[in-house]
């Protein structure tokens, strides 16, 4: 447990105007670990990813990769070795699968603007190596046959896999996946789970944001729960799953408590409490239209 973490977020806070999106979030990602980040909608998970990748510069705190503080320039963060995918897929739609992965390769290639114009032998070799690596990655995520397909024409699940291949092309030490199984059917979800295990095998540590708790608990070594911008609980899946605060914050209150509340509410209605009439009576303006619309 005391090994140095590959990625460490130290008390990261992010304030937008008067809104505190993240407050003092710390996180340790060990080499070879798969870490799950869960939490209700609006908990700040994607904001946290944006801080990790340099899209936002944290109001306070910093992010370290293998002990070095990451810059807040996304291109430089990629070069340093953190790659990501997006909640809403952001491929380059008018480029082929292969080209998308090759763009991911950009930072690892050396050719300058002029070398690309005069196709020397070094240029040819670099381009061929990049292409081989890109094809290998497409094969790895299961898109080996689709390399000539335009990204926008790929089926949804394949687009998500292509995003992963593109992120892997940057040779990351840490891969951040933002809802990699959103909108997938059970078979695709299972394939993604296997893919993430395979990525870990290649020596890349992974952070996954997901809503599907079953998926997270069966995938991750370590789970952190983010609620309203704060780290609520962290630990192994077993610990997190059993924590009552997590169940309440993330999954809702336990059934018996909810039942008790419903019973109490029903009683109030039955006794004609003030709340009940307020809820039923819609607000009407003078023309008799409902609601506060003008």
């Amino acid at each position: 447990m005391s090994a140095p973490p590959v990625l460490a977020a130290n008390s990261v806070s992010m304030v937008f105007g008067g809104l505190t999106a993240l407050s003092n979030v710390s996180l340790r990602l060990q080499e070879g670990q798969i870490l799950g980040l869960i939490g209700p909608n609006g908990a700040g998970k994607t904001t946290f990813f944006n801080c990790l990748t340099g899209l936002y510069s944290p109001t306070t705190g910093n992010v370290q990769l293998r002990g070095k503080v990451l810059p807040t320039d996304p291109a430089a963060v990629t070069v340093a070795g953190v790659a990501r995918t997006f909640q809403n897929i952001r491929l380059f739609p008018s480029m082929t699968s292969l080209e998308n992965v090759l763009v991911g390769r950009h930072a690892r290639m050396k050719q300058g603007p002029l070398a690309s114009l005069f196709h020397g032998p070094a240029y040819q070799r670099g381009e061929r190596d990049a292409r081989d690596r890109a094809l290998e990655l497409l094969e790895f995520v299961g898109l080996g046959k689709a390399h000539d397909e335009l990204a926008r024409n790929l089926p949804y699940g394949d687009q998500r896999r292509l995003e992963i291949a593109r992120a892997l092309a940057t040779d990351p030490k840490v891969l951040l996946l933002d809802e990699p199984t959103a909108g997938m059917n059970p078979q695709e979800t299972e394939a993604t789970r296997q893919l993430i295990f395979a990525i870990r095998e290649t020596g890349v540590a992974v952070v996954v944001i997901e809503h599907d708790t079953k998926f997270i608990f069966s995938l991750c070594d370590h789970v952190s729960v983010l609620v309203q911008g704060q780290l609520l609980v962290e630990g192994t899946p077993e610990v997190v799953r059993a924590d009552p605060r997590v169940i309440e914050a993330y999954l809702g209150k336990p059934p018996d408590e909810v039942e008790a509340e419903v019973r109490q509410y029903a009683e109030e209605v039955a006794h004609g409490g003030p709340e009940a009439t307020q809820v039923i009576q819609p607000v009407r303006d003078q023309d008799g239209h409902e609601g506060g619309k003008r």
Partner: protein, 309 residues
């Protein structure tokens, strides 16, 4: 028949020139969604710079050898045009990168006026058209074709060849090279491109560099073909090139070239054959533009606008 062929050739020459300028418009628009109205002036400055190279920098003994003088003039014109385009990007457009779209557009118009006036007042004799050296690389090929004689000058051939070769090299560069992919990626989604390690500023500067070089070369070709250069041509050909880029679909290399040739051919053919002659040739160009935009608002080869989620 000879007249038709002659006008087709004239149209291709004019079209090649427009296409070279339109490429700069379309690439800059593709990457930062800016209609760089000052791009026509870059072309004009390229013409003047190549003339200045000839007059002030070439040793007199080199001037008569076209194979020596012409490449040096082209380099002079292109280098000045590139420096101008890059400086323009750095100081006029980059500070406005995140401003509302109207701000850089108005700036571009302002830059255009400034450049024109600076050259008009600063270049000796530029208040009137300035002659290029005559009979320079000028050789007319004449041949009989059915009912008459057809003329094609060496500068005309050069113009057509350079524009087509330039467009092919550019298309290959954009699709096959590392920096070309970075340019396309930045055009499609700048934020994601940054996350892939692409430096947006370098990519944008490269785009202005390529556009400027092509415009500079167009300026040289214009000068030796028309045998004079005038501060007004930047605006005039800028408008033609802009129209060509819109017609072909802004952002598309192929579109800019085909749009350029289409406009060149329509201008010469309508001037010859349509009622009203050359007085109305501009009318037909814009009629074509309107008709195309009614049926294909994104232009011939453009991609339909997508709303990004």
């Amino acid at each position: 028949m000879a007249t038709l062929l002659q006008q087709l050739i004239n149209g291709l020459v004019l079209g090649g020139l427009i296409a070279l300028i339109a490429l700069g418009y379309t690439m800059v628009y593709g990457i930062i969604q800016l209609i760089n109205f000052a791009h026509g002036e870059v072309f004009m400055v390229g013409g003047f710079a190549s003339l200045a190279t000839y007059r002030y920098f070439l040793p007199p003994s080199w001037r008569s050898d076209w194979w020596l003088a012409l490449p040096l003039m082209a380099i002079g014109g292109a280098v000045v045009a590139v420096v101008l385009a890059v400086v323009m990007e750095r100081f006029a457009y980059r500070p406005l990168r995140n401003a509302p779209r109207l701000a850089p557009l108005i700036t571009a118009l302002g830059v255009s006026v400034i450049l024109k006036e600076v050259v008009r007042l600063g270049y000796p004799g530029a208040t009137a058209p300035v002659p290029f050296p005559r009979a320079f690389v000028d050789h007319q090929f004449r041949f009989e074709f059915f009912d008459g004689t057809v003329n094609i000058g060496s500068t005309a051939i050069l113009m057509i060849v350079v524009s087509i070769v330039g467009a092919i090299i550019l298309q290959t560069y954009i699709t096959r090279s590392r920096m070309g992919r970075a340019m396309r990626a930045t055009a499609q989604d700048p934020d994601t491109a940054r996350l892939m390690g692409v430096n947006p500023n370098r990519t944008i500067v490269l785009t202005f560099t390529i556009g400027g070089a092509l415009a500079g070369i167009a300026g040289v070709l214009y000068g030796i073909h028309i045998t004079n250069v005038d501060t007004e041509v930047g605006f005039l050909y800028g408008i033609f090139a802009f129209t060509a880029a819109v017609l072909g679909g802004v952002g598309s290399i192929k579109g800019a070239v085909i749009g350029g040739f289409a406009i060149g051919l329509i201008k010469t053919l309508s001037g010859q054959y349509f009622p009203g002659g050359t007085q109305y040739d501009l009318v037909w160009i814009f009629v074509l533009l309107i008709v195309v935009l009614v049926f294909r608002p994104q232009g011939l080869f453009g991609e339909p606008e997508r709303v990004r989620a």
